[in-house]
Symmetry: C2
């Protein structure tokens, strides 16, 4: 109660403390989340994902600076990437000028302490974002490493997801992106001053056209011409734009922020904003329900019975599925 | 029943069909898994994980060839890596001579169709491995891309986990490994004919010493000397060895297979084999229990009530946690 009130009044120390409690799934954190929940729903959650080496931390840094200086917005940053300098003192540390953001009371930076968090990384990240949202941060940038399923799940929680690429990372890394592309709202080719930027952009465009087959190639006077097919009547369509940036030199950031803003407008216009919110809140409710259901059920099983069943599973006399059924039916009887 | 019997009699078509059903979580697949379960527990599950570009697919290929030709063992391969040539026609395809394995009736290669599988990637992979185990495959190589939490979870299911590295992949990729190292039983520096192999090996050794602080540095005549501290009395200790390979030239494969074999011996000797089995079967039972519990509970909630609660959550009048509690308590009343 106190903690939630302190956060609503802008106390940064209370904010930091609550984020830790939320990350550790304490009952106090749970309670504060409940009290803060009515104050959420105002922030624009922007996921920034990409392979290591794409410079996405620098990009997050420059975007945050833009939102502070040009747009006057309050910015939260959640880094879920163990290689990110935002998680403190990692390899890239020197490349990102964190001191540009440090000390600004309108910026709050938080890194996830561990990958193997209770209840799933995506849900913990979502809860942290809710706290920052309630605390009045208007743009929340969530940085993930963009390789595994957990990162894809986190990206799904965002309203807008940027997928960051860089030239010259090799074919292997290109291939990984296939799954990541599905979640991209905006594609960024960072380090656009490096050689190979055209190739990287072409590869992305090719993959995009596979994923979003709205463009069609026609032949005109014997030459291939790409023509945009008309979008389906009556519903707006968003084709992920591909933007070039050089984050370390602050190039392309204004255009990127504009694209992010246009995407938010698109989401609100077509009802997708509410749909994404609903999906996120629904998945959170489901997880909490499942946790509670499970712990209630478990409290009713005598430990000896569980041990006995697991011993029979180890002996291959009972399959895991059969053991689960015995536990369930024993409880019912 | 028929399907399970066909698989036990060595029918490859039935095996392929069941693997698809298991991947799709069909009731028929579930039933066959139950029937096959008493026949499992014989295979050695070897996880092979590493970043894209480390050549781990080539390594899996060479290991499989070794097990076939030198050890005469039946080999199953499960590729959970979307960039793997084993998943069919990917970028690296030409580099791995898949035809060495294709057509061998004692080898079975399976790739996971999708990353977003029901019930979790790790559990689906475990179920596929169980089927191959029951079908008599003695070594099951599970290839994962080794970057996200899902891959770590899969690696945890294996008896032995190889973490594959390669020289010159850059600092960013080195940093990612910190979390992966914890699960490594054997470290492989593949592409050991490339420049930078010493650096890669040194970096790994440094990280290993942080993770497994068994070595201690002493000073002798003013010079730092690294001395192995004696292992704790009465319990065997496994220090992950670091091995060099050049998979494309079949170099170091015999030594790697020997290390894998020694690790299996270590696990069996100290009781860790049974402990890992138990952890895997327990986590499987838990997941099945949770699924069943959840669907039973859900069947008892009128759809209208759920919708009404979610609408109130969307309006921020109820938190997800409060909604979950109403669902639970409504059920109890």
């Amino acid at each position: 109660m106190d903690l939630a009130a302190s956060i609503l009044s802008g106390n940064r120390l209370a904010l930091a403390r609550l984020l830790t409690q939320v990350e550790n799934h304490t009952p106090e954190g749970r309670q504060a989340l409940d009290l803060l929940f009515p104050h959420t729903g105002h922030a624009h959650l922007v996921g920034v994902t990409g392979a290591p080496g794409t410079g996405k931390s620098s990009l997050v840094n420059q975007l945050a600076l833009f939102y502070r200086r040009q747009a006057g917005k309050r910015v939260g940053i959640i880094a879920v990437d163990p290689t990110s300098p935002f998680t403190g003192g990692a390899v890239l540390g020197d490349r990102v000028r964190m001191r540009d953001l440090a000390g600004d009371p309108q910026v709050f930076i938080r890194s996830m302490a561990s990958r193997g968090s209770l209840g799933g990384l995506a849900h913990t990240t979502s809860a942290l974002a809710q706290v920052l949202d309630a605390a009045g941060f208007e743009i929340i940038l969530v940085e993930t490493v963009g390789a595994g399923q957990a990162e894809v799940d986190i990206a799904r929680l965002a309203h807008t997801t940027l997928v960051v690429e860089a030239p010259g990372l090799g074919d292997d890394i290109q291939a990984i992106k296939a799954g990541i592309l599905e979640i991209a709202d905006v594609l960024v080719v960072n380090k656009a001053d490096h050689p190979g930027v055209e190739n990287a952009e072409r590869a992305l465009r090719g993959m995009l056209e596979l994923a979003h087959p709205v463009r069609r190639v026609f032949r005109r006077h014997g030459q291939a011409v790409t023509v945009e097919a008309p979008p389906p009547a009556g519903e707006p369509v968003w084709l992920p734009p591909i933007l070039r940036t050089v984050a370390t030199e602050d190039k392309g950031i204004v255009e990127l922020a504009a694209a992010i803003d246009r995407h938010a407008g698109f989401l609100r216009q077509g009802g997708d904003w509410a749909r994404r919110e609903r999906a996120r809140l629904e998945s959170e409710t489901e997880m909490l329900l499942q946790e509670a259901l499970n712990s209630r059920f478990r409290a009713g099983i005598p430990q000896g019975k569980y041990e006995m069943l697991m011993a029979r599973v180890m002996e291959r006399r009972l399959s895991p599925w059969e053991a689960a059924r015995v536990l369930l039916d024993g409880r019912q009887a």
